[in-house]
């Protein structure tokens, strides 16, 4: 079984994010790391291949600047190899353009299953996986909390507003994995050392046969026209509990007529 996992490399979410005032794009100058949302897809892929008794987990990622830091983390977890699409023309690419690029890279890899996180931690559009499936013209199941591959089909527990649905479809298929549904493994020291030698194939747009005008700012066909600071909520009264804070809460509930 061959599983391809889409991974995004993002600025460290622990650092304050910032928009570049000249372009209004998210600043990505610092080192990029593996998006935590995607670590669940990587872990899920590794578990599926292990339970199938063999197979390969490959990664695919896109970045304008050749970043590989996040890919190395996922390779250290146990993925075999990676394809990185990197091209200066990708700056400003939107969700649809990203999906076209990733789909073109994935179609060269002929996977049985494509996994992705439901949404990234920085852009969180939550649309790229389904768009990739659209561009590849394969079935897809989003918001998975559990995945089983049996023969030529994939069975998924798909999270819904009310609970979950059982959904199945034939492979090849794309499944997006909800954060938190598996426990991503920590790379071992051995894994980290091995990851340094694992192959990362770097491709540009021409290698994928993609016209650079269909991606980047031109391809996005949308423009940030304004950025404003949001009105901040003011903090109210803060008290230290010395055994009777619940009385203060009761009083507040009374004022709100909740009780």
């Amino acid at each position: 079984m061959k599983v391809v996992v889409c991974v995004k490399q993002i600025p460290d979410p622990a650092l304050p994010g910032e928009l570049d005032p000249s372009t209004n794009y998210l600043k990505r100058d610092d080192k990029l790391i593996l998006d935590e949302s995607d670590s669940y897809g990587v872990e899920m892929a590794l578990q599926l291949v292990e339970s199938a008794g063999g197979g390969d987990v490959s990664l695919v990622s896109m970045a304008p600047n050749g970043a590989v830091g996040g890919l190395r983390t996922a390779l250290a977890m146990g993925a075999e190899d990676a394809v990185l699409v990197s091209d200066a023309a990708l700056v400003g690419t939107d969700a649809l353009g990203t999906a076209k690029v990733l789909a073109a890279a994935i179609s060269r890899m002929s996977p049985d299953l494509v996994l992705a996180g439901v949404e990234s931690s920085d852009g969180y559009t939550g649309t790229v996986p389904e768009m990739i499936a659209g561009a590849l013209d394969i079935p897809s199941i989003t918001f998975a909390k559990q995945i089983q591959v049996e023969g030529g089909s994939v069975k998924v527990q798909r999270q819904t507003e009310a609970g979950y649905d059982d959904v199945e479809c034939p492979t090849p298929a794309l499944v997006s994995v909800t954060a938190g549904v598996v426990e991503p493994r920590y790379p071992s020291f051995k894994g980290i050392m091995a990851a340094k030698k694992k192959p990362v194939e770097e491709l540009d747009l021409s290698a994928l046969g993609i016209d650079s005008s269909s991606v980047g700012k031109n391809g996005a066909r949308q423009e940030t026209v304004q950025v404003t600071d949001a009105e901040e909520r003011q903090a109210g009264e803060i008290i230290e509990d010395d055994g009777d804070a619940h009385e203060k809460i009761i009083e507040f509930l009374g004022e709100l007529k909740v009780i």
Partner: protein, 320 residues
């Protein structure tokens, strides 16, 4: 160019359209003279309420019979959109809304802008507003494409308000076979058991987080919620840890709530969580760390141990 017709992708069930769908109707009505709706399913059950909220028409594919919605909805929508050329299509930021918009975007090669909380028309072009960096800044995006503007909106961004219209005309549309891409089928449905009001509709929400220490401690959140007629919610941390089901998650991933009162128990207030609850009218936070970001948005902040404050509160409420 101007905005004349907005098509709202309506979701709901046999009881009628979802609250979010009706919120989208308010936004669409404020921007366009003509608002039409599209239902990937049985539109007849929704015609009365959609009409009362300003829809002139309900285009309906009829029941999907167990097929996973997104790709089928998008295939039928493509044919409809190419025939009718709406200026914009509004979707709710839901699993099926995202799937459908994403598939449609590929089929008609038009961009989608997600996570919006506001919309306006400027110089005849749709401009949508999206909060970024945990809601500290707002980004306004103008559509520059030659085709319908596809926009997804978060729940609770607009107030649902009927405008007194009669039932909308239901118009059947042809289903379009998306081929093998449409082969995902739903074989079973499971609803989490819930007592009390729905999380995203409740007047009062009581949520628990990592500060509860262990999964068993969540029972006091449920007990407090029961006493106040509230819904119980959770931070992503304890959903990820498997203490409570995903259906209870409040936050950026999860549900957006705007109740009259939100009580955060043992929740530090990560950006991910704040995005989902800081629109609440009143907020009480109980946390032992005085530096917790949750206190920055609380109207009443209690620096203390949830294991002492919450049981004392429960006792006090019971003895009233």
């Amino acid at each position: 160019m101007s905005i004349e017709t907005i098509l709202v992708f309506a979701e709901g069930d046999e009881t009628g359209p979802s609250g979010l769908t009706l919120e989208l109707m308010t936004a669409a009505r404020s921007l366009a003279a003509n608002v039409e709706t599209f239902v990937a399913g049985d539109g007849a059950a929704m015609a009365e309420q959609l009409g009362a909220h300003g829809a002139s028409k309900v285009f309906s594919t009829g029941a999907l019979e167990g097929k996973l919605m997104g790709v089928h909805a998008a295939a039928a929508l493509q044919a409809h959109v190419e025939a009718t050329n709406p200026d914009a299509i509004f979707f709710g930021q839901t699993p099926d809304g995202r799937d459908t918009a994403a598939r449609l975007a590929v089929r008609i090669d038009q961009p989608v802008v997600t996570n919006n909380v506001g919309a306006s028309v400027e110089d005849g072009v749709l401009v949508v507003e999206e909060p970024v960096f945990g809601g500290t800044q707002n980004v306004f995006t103008a559509f520059r494409n030659d085709g319908p503007a596809l926009a997804l909106f978060r729940p609770k961004s607009f107030e649902a308000e009927p405008n007194g219209g009669g039932a909308a005309e239901v118009v059947g549309v042809e289903a379009v076979d998306p081929g093998v891409a449409g082969s995902a089928v739903v074989t079973g449905r499971h609803a989490e058991e819930r007592s009390g009001p729905k999380l995203d509709e409740a007047e009062v929400v009581i949520s628990g987080g990592r500060g509860l220490g262990q999964p068993e401690a969540y029972s006091m959140i449920d007990e407090l919620a029961g006493l106040l007629g509230a819904a119980s919610g959770a931070s992503r941390a304890i959903v990820d840890a498997g203490w409570v089901p995903y259906a209870k998650q409040v936050g950026q991933t999860g549900k957006v709530v705007k109740p009259n009162l939100y009580v955060a128990c043992g929740i530090s207030g990560a950006t991910q969580h704040l995005v989902g609850m800081k629109g609440s009218k009143n907020i009480i936070a109980i946390n032992k760390d005085p530096e917790a970001p949750i206190f920055g948005v609380a109207d009443l902040g209690i620096v203390g141990d949830v294991h002492k404050v919450v049981p004392a509160l429960i006792e006090a409420l019971k003895s009233r």
